[in-house]
Symmetry: C2
């Protein structure tokens, strides 16, 4: 069982899209593939380095996925880190999408699971980042030692979360990616992505598409 985490902003945007009625999202790695799927009736979503790529309908802002016109539509999405992490997670028993926006829904599913869980943080271009680690820490903190740890990393993430939980924004303000987004004028995206429990959906990658986790998908 893998939970993919890319708080700023891929997994927050995916959660938002699925919560707002998007039927399915296909994560793809390249802009070329994304463009081909646009011709095939998908809405094209592409972000690189924090910015929407020209010629695509949306970028990676969660607000752009609240569009009622996207209801029951399919989206092809490519982002700097998030979609790569989703693709790398394939082969797991289930691949879920986590964000603060669906924290409690995810937590109540995880705490009933009879299997190992890997919290797969996207980070930034192959390196660890603060916001994804804090969310992983929030999950570990919330699970209250129901799981054994495979290394010290979960404990470290939970400690960082405990230290930061009363002011998550302050804790990530110095982080590389957050400064980058704020410089790009995306502070309202950052604020939204740090909100707990806006939605109750759990997106799940099944085959090539991310859809809403249904009762029949649940492993208990």
């Amino acid at each position: 069982m893998v939970v993919v985490i890319d708080i700023l902003r891929a997994t927050s945007s995916i959660t938002t899209a699925i919560a707002h009625g998007v039927e399915a999202i296909k994560p793809v790695e390249s802009l070329v593939e994304c463009r081909q799927l646009m011709m095939d009736g998908h809405i094209g979503a592409a972000e690189r380095g924090g910015k929407k790529v020209g010629g695509f309908e949306v970028g990676n802002s969660p607000f752009s996925y609240m569009n009622p016109e996207f209801e029951d539509k399919k989206i092809a999405m490519t982002t700097t880190n998030g979609t790569v992490t989703l693709k790398k997670s394939k082969g797991a028993l289930q691949v879920l999408v986590g964000s603060f926006l669906n924290y409690s829904a995810l937590l109540s599913y995880l705490e009933r699971l009879p299997c190992d869980v890997l919290l797969h943080c996207a980070g930034w271009k192959g390196k660890v980042n603060m916001e994804d680690t804090l969310f992983a820490g929030a999950i570990i903190y919330g699970l209250k030692q129901m799981f054994e740890y495979n290394s010290d990393a979960p404990m470290m993430a939970a400690n960082l979360y405990k230290q930061a939980k009363n002011n998550l924004k302050a804790a990530i303000e110095d982080s590389s990616h957050v400064s980058r987004l704020i410089k790009l004028g995306l502070e309202k995206d950052v604020d939204f992505c740090l909100k707990f429990d806006e939605y109750k959906v759990i997106p799940i990658l099944k085959g090539e598409y991310i859809t809403k986790l249904k009762l029949s998908d649940m492993l208990f």
Copy 2:
């Protein structure tokens, strides 16, 4: 510039040995190589999984390196994680050995350096661990943003250190490796390895051997 960090216990023991007058330490990866060097007049030091390996003179306890008989002698040393990390660091401008035992000496060298610094934590069998991260955090905290960060990892380590600094032992007690050492009856080793500034030496890997950093080695 690389600082190798394996708090429990390789880099703490190396610091202790060099401070107590050992002439040079050759880190080797295999027990076979270590044994060959014993025949060649070296003192043989070998640890695996926290325990001294049979047939060698010392293991990985810092106390065993306080032996006056080792003064001006050469040691061949192989440990589970530390020596591998030292070997992987070869090729850097300089490879230094860091531990709480020589914290301030190391810090005052690093803060005057005109180059990038990589804090290379040994961890445990390829995974991150708490005690090495806390020491890296102590260095980053001590350097007070004299350096820019290459990712969020240094900030995360410094935050963990800030949270833990008034009681380092409590912070590492739940860590995988510490529980392992305490079970092996090595709590006094853990306590010693968490002491700040017992020594003023900075061990440096030059060629195949670790010796004491001299004034003529300094890069400023």
